[in-house]
Symmetry: C2
Subunit: 130 residues, 2 copies
DNA sequence: CCCACTGCTTTGAAAAGTCAAGCGGTGTAA
DNA sequence: TTACACCGCTTGACTTTTCAAAGCAGTGGG
């Protein structure tokens, strides 16, 4: 493990009290800044680093690198370095099978968001899939 | 508005580019630290401040106060100050109708977490509802 | 009276995230 | 060939967020 992440070890106080709880852990992972945005972007297809950064919208490269590393150690995403015709190493990030199953979570958030976050907002008429 | 929150205004870079996107906003709200934990706790019934802090597990009071204020302005939770027999003002936090609909999100996370976060972990046998 | 509990607020320091710049490399057009 | 735009990052300084600990006002019990 290259870096140590707060949600990794049994360091969280509640973990000690409750024993291992997958839901608690899952929340710990998914509430990290940009993680859900990254997953959502990747659900629309694999992406390169800068491409992903643009799709995610506003995440800076340092944070993005860190998040991607973490998600890789959790086997949510996959990093592949493809060498196009022998040159230009481009990194491509893909969701693993486990990562793709987060579609359900994103869908649930999507549904809730459309129902509860678009009311009373200025200039909102139709919700495109942005 | 008492405090300014990052996910409130149109300050996020992606918001300007994409126009309003409820999913993007929803993610912005739900990825704030402790928010999902708070919602999950409150789905099990209304709670007082310290009671909620304990249920959530490890959130400090300053952050919790801030999160609760934010969630209240978003009409996700409700704060009620009940005076038990004329004395002892106890604050009780409840989910609104909109907040209760986050059950779907929590369920999705729960499902995913049990499927992908409990494998290969030490000392994990049965998953209780913790 | 003293201690435990309630719901918070304050403080200062640590952790996390952000910004801007830069590095080595490629590819494209002047 | 020189220049500039892209690629995937890394670095270091700066800002924001979260933190633990303490404290405050009030209630209730031993």
């Amino acid at each position: 493990m290259t870096t140590l992440h707060p949600s990794d070890g049994p360091s969280a106080s509640a973990t000690a009290e409750r024993g291992f709880c997958p839901v608690y852990r899952a929340i710990g992972v998914l509430q990290e800044k940009w993680v859900l945005h990254i997953v959502r972007s990747l659900l629309n297809g694999e992406k390169g680093f800068n491409e992903l950064a643009r799709a995610v919208g506003g995440c800076n490269s340092a944070t993005l690198t860190q998040r991607l590393e973490h998600l890789e150690t959790l086997s949510i995403i996959n990093k592949r370095t493809e060498d196009t015709h022998g040159k230009l190493a481009r990194s491509v990030y893909t969701l693993t099978a486990g990562g793709r199953e987060l579609q359900g979570v994103i869908d649930a958030i999507d549904t809730w968001g459309r129902a509860h976050l678009s009311e009373g907002q200025p200039g909102v008429v139709g919700a495109q899939d942005c």
